[in-house]
Symmetry: D2
Subunit: 288 residues, 4 copies
């Protein structure tokens, strides 16, 4: 055990995240998802339903967000739900629907992976793997995802400090995968007028400390549809490299998160406003 202990001791001295730190790549990282570049001058919009529910729901929503200006389609096939009795997602069937929606619209596809045993399957269908807030410190999952060659969207844990968040990203990079995008999605605080407290301070703080692109999810962050366009504008003004927006072709019928999903018309109007704010900070919205 002596040698072993020594090895361990040496490691303990280097616990800080290094691969993700800004100093290791001052110019910043550009993550490419099916040709869409995240982290450059253009702001990338990812949009779609919370969960994949049906062929019609997904394709209709995908066509609408494509028309409105999104570049990447979001949609969960495996859903982490608080209650075991809530809709848990369509699983592989949902992934197949995402694949068809990609063919239909040309949008790249991002979808969540929750289990080390699902990583290969999701990686086969999706263009980008999402690791959700509740799994930000699911270390075996991070390691498994980090071993794929797919770009990864790592959402901030609702209870994670910036330090812990950077360490979680370091798990991914330490496995060889450098294509990682961070996503602020609201933290848990005492305030109850919003579902979470979307923490836009995280954008400039992360930008100072890491070279990875940073996007924002104002849909989960606020949990309230009417706040999403405003907080989306603020996110871009604060330097976000992209947005993750929940849109549903019929929010009132959504199986999850309907009250925070935009109607397609609202998404269109929001995009008009975002273009102006992007321009004000010398950026533009990516067009497919």
């Amino acid at each position: 055990m002596e040698t072993d202990s020594c090895r361990i001791d040496t490691k303990i001295k280097t616990d800080d995240p290094e691969l993700v730190s800004r100093s290791s790549r001052p110019e910043g990282t550009i993550v490419e998802v099916n040709g869409v570049k995240i982290g450059g001058k253009e702001v990338v919009i990812m949009a779609g339903p919370c969960a994949v529910e049906s062929e019609e729901q997904l394709s209709e929503t995908a066509l609408r967000v494509r028309a409105g200006g999104a570049s990447i389609l979001r949609g969960g096939a495996f859903k982490p739900r608080t209650s075991p009795y809530s809709f848990q997602g369509l699983g592989k069937e949902g992934l197949e629907m995402l694949e068809r929606a990609r063919t239909l619209t040309g949008l790249a596809v991002v979808s969540e992976v929750m289990d080390t045993r699902q990583v290969q399957t999701v990686a086969r269908y999706a263009d980008m793997l999402q690791i959700g807030s509740r799994n930000m410190q699911n270390f075996p999952l991070l390691k498994e995802a980090g071993r794929t060659s797919k770009p990864i969207l790592l959402k901030r844990g609702m209870m994670a400090t910036i330090d812990e968040y950077l360490h979680a990203a370091e798990y991914l990079l330490s496995q060889g995968n450098t294509q990682v995008v961070l996503c602020e999605r609201g933290i848990r605080t005492f305030e109850s007028s919003t579902r979470y407290t979307l923490d836009l301070n995280a954008i400039p703080v992360l930008k100072q400390r890491t070279h990875l692109p940073v996007i924002v999810d104002p849909s989960h962050g606020t949990g309230i549809r009417s706040l999403v366009p405003t907080m989306a504008r603020a996110s871009i003004a604060a330097g976000a490299d992209g947005l993750l927006i929940e849109v549903h072709y019929r929010p009132d019928e959504a199986l999850c998160d309907g009250s925070q999903s935009l109607y397609p018309e609202e998404f269109d109007r929001m995009m008009t406003g975002l273009r102006k704010v992007a321009e004000a900070v010398d950026r533009s919205i990516h067009v497919l």
Copy 2:
């Protein structure tokens, strides 16, 4: 006691804030501070040092923020400090310096009041009374300030929910003073990479629930100079009616909050960026 109890019971039935609610004045309130209108199309910039420290410090800083585009000068003469051994402010002498700085620059002056017994004094010198975060639920102070005819800047308590904040504002209005401006200044959360967590969600939430103008203090909200310009931009994109910015002619020598105070040159640069973002959301920065 029977009659008395009845009277009390009746009151209990109407605990909700009414005077501040959006429905009581759907068109919104415009608060006027020495001719500067807060709550209209123009975004108003208040800037200055955390504390009034000396004639030179205040006048130099005031001239610089005036030149940079501020309309109102901030500066504390009575300072709420965590430790009894920290600089507690210059008191009345500080108020006199503020008065001279107003004459020198034409800037209106906002200054904090901490004690019911100071209200009349501060009201004599300042154009706007500030009630600080730690006093948001100092109810006797709210009542006393609400009885003056001065406009009031009521900062959100670092631990206050939106509900409690609106109730605190209701205390002011219930005394007859309708000239109240709200100010998000950061809430306390588990995150420690910033001093507080500036909660920009509060802007659209407050806008929906009250007719009072809402401004943001990114200096106290973040506690970190380098984050201020970014969060100021985001605040305007999120709909803020104004900003409260700490600027010091020599931040490295400041007696308090130096590390979150902008250098005058930084303030100037920030203002250039703010004008673009204001335009992107169909507003402009007020010019004196």
Copy 3:
């Protein structure tokens, strides 16, 4: 100003709380309220209604808690209420009722002071001045109370760190008043199953860092009647020097905080349990 700045600089170097620190009085402080000693081997029970509502309510409740084993009577004459339309307390009339209840029962009386202008008045009637959670950083009030010779019950701010709490107590001691009792009363967290999160960790942490006695208010801390006896037991096991318990002779008719007030019978039962736990940690409950 040169001399002045120097003086200030010197002060800045000594911002840490000194007078309250454990090292300045390792043996601990005993605070005496009308002969009742807080901080010694005996645990002191303070009980009574949230607010003084009427002669009958106060005297009936006082007699019941006296019989049950309380040594000090609590009751607010000036009430800090979230809404301006809630019952604000009976004021001076309430103080007079407290005085008569003291005569009737022999209980010492603790009552809250909220305004610097009330300090002398409350000090005339009460045996101990309470400074409430919302006023923990009301520095002018702390200074004014610190100049009286009355013992002071300083409640922890619901969002105050232990550091800030000790600094607040230092304000009192720096004015010459060393008769200060601290009181944990629940902090604000994300958890909503209780009104606040009663933080019993604060007891041993404070005991390590200061010589001042520490008591606990499980009534406000939980906001739920059925949790009070359990958390009271835990508080004594954790080393509390006393408890502050809300009891109302008719909780269902209380003008404030009825749902967290014990029925007199519950108070009696709780006291039986507390005596056993006190004994288990080598202490006893003070008997008048």
Copy 4:
């Protein structure tokens, strides 16, 4: 899809946790771990090192906690560490050491499982599966563990509400495993004088809402060795059915969490105090 949607809708109506609710088993559940009953009149002490580090460390520590009065040995073979460069545990080798420690001491063994793919392996060696705070909402892991016949120790997420915690336990029971013990281990708040804020309110709140046994981990909850005995006493006074205590034969050499691990002598002294408090609340400490 029509039929499918209907089925889903029906499920949505029953999202509340039912199997874990107190009303479904008012008499309470007793969980048996190798003959040790948790949830009855006796309080069960689980103790041991944070991580299994070596044969000597584990066996020495196990013998000491066995002698001091523990009934179950804790020790992680798979460790969830914030940094990928920290000691990640000995894995299967660690499980084998735990098995030998059980043979040596007669203590039952509880050890953490982090990955769905590890469940069978850990279940082969350990008498009780631990699901850690960061995995409380790792739903695939919950399902997989719920399908085993091993008793499960489900730790509360550091940012989980009581509601979410009960839903997580419901995941386990919904798979057929009713042998579940809950464990409060500290929540994340703004307070930084302790590592987390151990929330003892959770004990009576959980006891009211669920029939599952509730234990407390004051070691992780406070992160500070000197606070552990005090908070352990308070936990039992608050009704805890057991404790999870970190003990290390040489805390200063521990590879993780040394500063919160008790020295064996401290553990012995703590046990003496716990016996008295247990008696004061009509319980006793389980003796092997």
